[in-house]
């Protein structure tokens, strides 16, 4: 009985240390895990993917949050931007809060580092911080270029190449709002009934449960909820977008996709003979250097990119290295942040549940002994 009594009086700082360890350890020792996708994430993915390669379709990402909710929302933003850059989907970004504007730059730069061919004003356009949410939401229903006037770099929006084929919500048919507080409120109330705009949200898990009535009614066409939503989207991009495939739920339940979503370092790129010849032909200048690292096993050519020393990776250049890593199904850290985080989340949730159970156990045992 004494044990349970002492357990009840455990100092809170011990609890803090346990929960901190439950997060630090799984972050430092990564392991592969799978996040099942939910319909609300899949719907959003499919909607965005249906705009692929179309001149007359675009999405808008509204960054309605500040740094305080970044750990949950930032990986979503990165994953969606990556999806757009990967599948050639026009994307606009804006924030109605001064504190959200730097997050847009941060997100775009994180993804752009891996996509050097993507250009501002052509493939994407950042409107930056624009005050007066209401005016923006209503105004864009009429004309995006005149409402936004200039982009974050001070260029006239109407002169930008990305605007070809884009006038208002008829073309920019989907807005995804990332928020820790309002979750698409202004868009659902004003733009949805007046202009028929499709609205989706990326919300912190705190607000996710409240959005289900809107999801069922179709007022929200999709939702990413918290870090799990981000992890799900990251997975979908890795399974479909990076392999230039469109979404299919059959493929998602195929166990073979496990190779595509490993979040530990994958270092061996495997080629068939024909694939390898095609690869070499794409980079004639680096041919000799690539050959140097080639190994052959059972008729399959393998290159371990992690063994290439830095001076050679520089010589090979960004595109060769990128292709090798893709072939190895290696995922860069910034594109798997949420999934690495979900590993820690697993352990932390178990610890939390153990806390609840232990706390209750102690409480009831003590109550029983008090009665006696």
């Amino acid at each position: 009985m004494k044990f349970f009594k002492r357990m009840q009086e455990l100092d809170r700082r011990w609890i803090y240390i346990i929960i901190a360890l439950a997060i630090v350890v799984p972050l430092m020792i990564p392991f592969d895990s799978d996040n099942l996708t939910t319909p609300s994430t899949e719907n959003l993915y499919q909607m965005i993917d249906s705009f692929s390669g179309r001149e007359d379709r675009a999405i808008l990402m509204s960054f309605a949050h500040d740094a305080s909710t970044m750990p949950e929302l930032f990986p979503m933003e990165v994953a969606i931007l990556r999806h757009c850059f990967e599948r050639n989907i026009k994307v606009f970004t804006f924030s109605n809060s001064p504190l959200g504007a730097p997050i847009i730059d941060y997100a775009i730069n994180t993804v752009k580092d891996e996509y050097p061919q993507i250009e501002s004003g052509v493939h994407y356009c950042n409107f930056g911080y624009k005050p007066n949410m209401f005016a923006i939401v209503i105004g864009m229903g009429d004309n995006i270029a005149t409402t936004m006037n200039v982009d974050a770099e001070g260029r006239k929006v109407e002169t930008l190449p990305i605007m070809r084929g884009i006038t208002n919500y008829t073309e920019m048919n989907l807005v995804v709002e990332f928020s820790g507080s309002v979750a698409g409120g202004t868009w659902i109330v004003y733009a949805r009934p007046k202009f028929g705009l499709n609205v989706a949200v990326g919300v912190t898990a705190v607000m996710a449960a409240d959005q289900y009535p809107y999801l069922q009614s179709g007022q929200l066409i999709g939702m990413l909820s918290g870090l799990k939503g981000a992890a799900e989207y990251e997975k979908l991009v890795d399974v479909f977008a990076t392999n230039e495939q469109s979404f299919s739920s059959e493929k998602l339940s195929d166990p073979r996709i496990r190779d595509l979503i490993k979040i530990t370092t994958q270092s061996v790129a495997s080629f068939t003979q024909t694939e390898f010849t095609a690869f070499l032909n794409r980079y004639p200048q680096q041919k000799d250097l690539i050959e140097k690292y080639r190994e052959e096993k059972d008729g399959i050519i393998q290159i371990n990119w992690s063994q290439i020393p830095p001076q050679h990776t520089e010589q090979l250049g960004f595109f060769v290295m990128d292709e090798l890593q893709r072939k190895a199904n290696h995922i860069k850290y910034s594109f798997k942040t949420a999934r690495v985080g979900m590993n820690a989340q697993s352990v932390a949730h178990i610890v939390m549940i153990v806390f609840i159970i232990l706390g209750n156990l102690g409480y009831f045992v003590q109550k029983l002994s008090d009665k006696k």
């Binding site: 700082r13 803090y16 929960i19 901190a20 997060i23 630090v24 972050l27 430092m28 990564p30 305080s68 909710t69 970044m70 750990p71 949950e72 930032f74 001064p98 504190l99 504007a101 930056g128 911080y129 624009k130 005050p131 209401f134 006037n149 659902i188 109330v189 004003y190 949805r192 009934p193 007046k194 912190t204 898990a205 705190v206 996710a208 449960a209 409240d210 009535p213 069922q216 009614s217 007022q219 909820s225 918290g226 870090l227 799990k228 850290y333 942040t337 690495v340 985080g341 820690a344 989340q345 932390a348 949730h349 939390m352």
Partner: protein, 200 residues
Amino acid sequence: MSFELFSNLIGAFFTLCIFSFLYKDNPLYQMAEQLLVGLSVGYSLVLTYHRVFIPYVYQPIVIRHQFMLIIPFLIGVLYLTRLTRKLSWLSRYPIAFSVMGVGSSFALSLHTAILVQMRQAMVPLESINLTLIFIGTITVLLYFFFSKAHSGTYGKFVNVGKWYMMIGFGASFGLTVMARVSLLIGRIQFLVLDVLGLMK
């Protein structure tokens, strides 16, 4: 030491200042807290000047000579009368200007939050789940209807709403735990990975 590492170390220092509150309230936390407020306010002031005052007040009035805009700007200045006791009633004018938007939100929120939701609650009960949702919505609504005493058969029926709400709150609670943990994970990822570079 690279500039990036220096910047990250500064970020790590302030992160730890805030975390130090877990041990107990201390001067480093107090300092960080006030600094945070000061920085946020200063940041917004500069951005409001560059992104709002210049393009929407200064340029239209001074460069494009839209002198009418002086009027709303002066009405806006009336906000400052809040700071005096005698003239503070003047600040009601700019407030009234922003409150009048309630007219449009009246109509459109009615549509979004009531009509569409009610329509969805009245779909044909073709499946068990739809029936359960229907019963839940009705009983939760009745639970908050206090004009009739919750007793007898009616009371039992209304009580069903309470159980629905408990499950709903439970789901919200589970997700809230998740959200808070995620935020901590984000900060630890910053400390462990970006600053100490322990994993790539």
